[in-house]
Amino acid sequence: MDFNAIQIILVFIVSFIVAIDQFDLLESLYQPIVTGAIIGAILGDLQTGLIVGGTYQLMTIGNMPVGGAQPPNAVIGGIMATVFAISSNLDPSAAVGLAVPFALIGQYMVTLLFTVMSPVMSLSDKCAENADTKGIVRINWLAMAALGLLFGLVCVAGLIGGNALGDTLTAISEKYAWIMNGLSAAGGMMRYVGFAILLRMMLSNDLWGIYFAGFALATVIGYIDGLGGSALLLIAFVGIAIALYDFQTRTAMKSAGLGAGSTGGDEDGI
C-alpha cells in the first residue's frame, strides 16, 4: 500500500508534535490511544487506528516512564504499529511487534539528544551570566524542535521504508549497541556533575556528615522493596526533622543570649 505526499507530510507533523509531547506540552497526546486514532484517520482507516491504539495502550499501562527510566519508546511504537496494521493488514499485536525496531531507534535518539544537551548547558550558563532571558527561552524551544525533527524523520522513514527497514535497523542497532551502551552509561553518570555543582555551592565543611547521612539513609531505603516511590518523601521527613531541630536549637540559643558573640556557653567551666 502506497501513501501519498499529503499523508506523509501529515504523519511527519503528527510525529513531530507528539515526540515533543512525550516530555512537554500536554504530555498526553503521545499516548498510543490518541496517536493510533490520529494516524489511522490520516491513513484512511480510523477503525484500525482506534483498535491498534487501544490495544497498545493497554500493553503500555504497565510500562510507564516511572522515575526517569526510558521504556522502549511508546511514541514511535504507537505510530508505527498503526502504520503497519493498516499498510500490511496485520492484527494489532503483530503490528506492535514490527514497530519494536523503530521504537528502539526512537529510544536511541532520546539518549543521544539528552547527551548532546548536557554540554549545551554551558551556553545556558553564558545566557544567565548576561541576564539574557531570550537565550534561555530559545534553547528550550530549539531542543524541543530537535526532538520533534528526529522522531518525525524516523516515522517518515518507517512509513516509506516499511517493515523491511525494520530488519536493517535491527542489524544496525546490534552492530552499534556498544556505543549506545557507553552513551547511556555516561548519561547515567552525568547527573553526578549536577550533584557536584549543587554541593559546591551548599556544602560548608561542617555539613559533610549530613551529606553522608542522607546518602546512607537513601541506600538503606533503596534496599527495601515497596518503598521505591515513597523513598524520597520518607527521607525528606527525616531531613526536615534534623533541620528543624537545628533551627529550633539555634533560635532558642539566640533568644537566650547564647548566640554569636558568646561562643563559650555551657562549656565555660571546662
Binding site: L25, L58, T115, N130, Y192, V193, M202, I235, D246, F247
Partner: protein, 275 residues
Amino acid sequence: MASNALQYKDLTPAQPLDKATLNKMVWRSCNLQGSFNYERMQANGWLYSILPGLEKIHTNKDDLSASMQHNLEFFNTHPFLVTFVMGIVLSLEQQKADINTIRAVRVAAMGPLGGIGDAIFWFTLVPITAGITSNMAIGGSIAGPILFLVIFNLVQFLVRFWLMNWSYQLGTKAIELLTKNAKEFTRAASMLGVFIVGALTSNYGGTTVKLEIANGDSPIVIQSILDGVLPKMIPLFFTLLLYFLLKKKGWTPVKCIILLIVIGLVGALPFIGLF
C-alpha cells in the same frame, strides 16, 4: 558556571506577583522538560518556566543574572507538580531571601514530589482512565481517545494552577515568620538541601559495572563485591570526584561531561565490557 553571590544587591522585597504572571508561568511549566539533559535534567526548562516572575522581581540586571545562574543548577521534579516548587521559590525570590536559602529550599522541595506525582498520575489516573477508554477505542469508538484527553488534562491543569497559587501564598506567609531568624533558617535549609543531595546520590545513582572475572563455574562478579563493601559506592565515588574536580581543580562542567563520555565509551568497548 554558577555564580558565587550569596545575596542579591537590591534587598528590598519586590511587589507581590500578580495573578496574570503566575498563570503565565503555569503555562510555561508545561515545557519544563524541553531541554532535558543528563547533567542538570530539567534545569534550563525550570529557569524558562519561572523567567516571567524573575524578570518582574529582579529589576536590577546583576540580580537577575545572579538569580538565573543559581536557578540553572541541577533540577528534577515531577513535571505535573512542578508549580508547587515554583510558587515557594518565587515567594522567596520576591522577598530577596539569601541565595543559599532559595537554593536549599528548591532542592528540598523538588525531591519528594517525584514519588507523589508518579503515584497520582502514572499509577492511578492513567491506568484507570486509559484502561476504560482503551476498551472503548478497541470497540471502535472515537470517544475513547477524546475522553482520555479531556479527563487527563482537566486533572493535570487543575493541579498545576491550584498548586502554583497555593504554594505562592504559603511561601509568602511563611517568610514573614522566618525573616526574624534568617541566618538560622539559611543554615537549617542548607542542612536539609545537603541531606537531600546525599539521598539523591544514592537514589538517582544507578551506575553499575558488568565486569566478571572467569573462575570456572562461579565467575567473580565485581559489582557484588563492591556492593558487599558499600552499596552505591560508584555513584558516591563519582559525585565526590567531580566535586573535587569542580571545586579544587577549577574544572568546568563541560570538561567533566567529556571525561564521563570517554569513561562511558571506553568502558563499553566490547573487549572491555565494563558497562
